[in-house]
Amino acid sequence: MTLPAIQVCNLRKQFHRRRKRRRTDAPEAWALAGVSFEVARGDTYGLLGPNGSGKSTLIRILSTLLVADGGDVRLLGHRLPEEQARVRWLIGRVSVDAAFYKKLSTRENLLYTALLYGLDPASAERKAMHVLEQLGMEQRTFSAPLEEMSRGMQQKISIARALMINPPLLLLDEPTTGLDPKSRRDVQAFLEDLRRREGTTILLTTHDMAEAERLCARIGFLAHGRLVAEGTAEGLRRQASAATLDDAFIGLTEETAAAGDTPTGAPTDR
């Protein structure tokens, strides 16, 4: 039996706010309060939630940038954080803010990443440029500093950067936020094609319900650090007795809030 690409079990994370006067740390609400889910290899899984629901915290833990307080995370069979060095070769990440050296050109930024991953710069560059062309970017823009480019163009370069390393697992944190409709459609079509062609497993966080419905085989709703519902888009609509995924999302996440389920105490083990 093939292991799932992502296995998250009872994941917990709580941040602390520094109290200046007393010079002690005050615990905040749980950012993740016992989240569990699995994503099969080659699937696209959508994680939807209101702002502050814990989506980015979850992506950061999977990206080896944050250590969880409890629970178990395995990516392609490798446990985090113990096997983070191995996991780093297997993941590509695109975050909501396209983080680049803005004074450097597209080509220079991509070559830097290729070298950072120990890749042959020439072949890595060819691959990245191919991805950019597929995303509708013109070659003449590759030598211009990134600060001269629109947010949409920067986000496409961010996707090319993540794919340049051929990751079997792609973590996308609101990759289409702020993009114009045409760019958004380009990115969505590309991701569909990528999953079909390469079998890449994709974890996608988004606020765009239509995007989630189009791209994701399964969707999870995250609210107050808890996974409050999970299933196919159709299943979630049925569960909430809603006509649209938007309505299902609002209904199921607000239900959690109305139930006073804001996790402030320690989550129980499941």
Binding site: T64, L65, Y101
Partner: protein, 274 residues
């Protein structure tokens, strides 16, 4: 091996292209370093004191080299925070040793260029003659002190991981303290008694002491035309201390950085906004 070399080169590649894009600022910083060093050296010229001029010139050059080296390494994490790329660097499959080695090599190149510019400028502003100076010996001492300053820089680089704003401020406070206690332009015995023990902890103190001997400062036989330099064997004590400091400070710097990185990953401090 090839992969490690590429990863080390990545940081030099990035540094080179960023320098190219910020060239006008690089020119400004070099100009400022040159004018600052010349202004200090001219104090000796005005006093018609060749030994004083030489002391100030050696102090200005060495401090320039060591401070640029330290600053470039110490601020590398702060720069990444400002650019917003820190998370991408930290999630790349590159060991922290290779990461900091790449940054240190670029810093070394940068400080060599900067010091060469300052030396060239000082030649124009002061009647400087290095005839008789033990320059190979000076290079050996600088190489030894580079190790210790890389260690200090790596340790200081951890500060912006702890706190984005305060960390960058802390690296400058530490740099300023080194300048004060190391006796860059004066002998450390003119410092207040309670400060003097601190000078023994600074690698710059030993670097300056050794280099002064190797260019003939303090030697009565030194004249304006010919320096009476000491042989390398005369600075064995300083060299041993510098090498020992390097051997302690580099692993210690990596250890401190690793601990701080782990703490940042537990508390969420790697986040772009801090």
């Amino acid at each position: 091996m090839e992969r490690g070399l590429r990863q080390t080169w990545a940081f030099m590649f990035r540094g080179y292209h960023l320098t190219r894009r910020y060239l006008s600022w690089v020119v400004v910083f070099n100009f400022y370093a040159l004018t600052g060093a010349a202004a200090v050296a001219l104090i000796g010229v005005a006093a018609h004191d060749h030994q004083l001029t030489l002391t100030l010139v050696v102090g200005a050059l060495l401090w320039n080299f060591l401070s640029v080296l330290y600053n470039e390494i110490a601020m590398s994490i702060a720069y990444e925070r400002w650019e917003g790329t820190l998370e991408y660097t930290f999630m790349a499959p590159v060991s922290r040793l290779v990461h900091l080695l790449g940054i240190s090599l670029f810093a070394l190149c940068n400080s060599i260029v900067n010091t060469t510019v300052v030396l060239g400028g000082l030649m124009l502003f002061t009647p400087l003659s290095l005839t008789g100076a033990n320059l190979p010996g000076v290079l050996v001492v600088i190489l030894a002190s580079t190790l210790a300053f890389v260690g200090l820089g790596v340790m200081a680089a951890a500060l912006p991981v702890l706190s984005p704003e305060r960390g960058a401020e802390g690296t400058h406070i530490f740099q300023g303290s080194l300048l004060l206690v190391s006796g860059v332009y004066y002998p450390v015995d003119v410092l207040p008694t309670w400060v003097q023990p601190l000078s023994a902890l600074s690698p710059a103190t030993y670097t300056l002491s050794a280099c002064r001997k190797l260019v003939g400062i303090g030697n009565p036989a030194t004249t304006a035309e010919r320096l009476a330099a000491a042989p390398l064997s005369a600075v064995t004590g300083e060299l041993v201390v510098l090498v020992a400091m390097g051997f302690v400070l580099i692993p210690l710097g990596l250890w401190v950085f690793g601990r701080v990185e782990s703490w940042a990953k537990r508390t969420g401090r790697l986040k772009r906004t801090g």
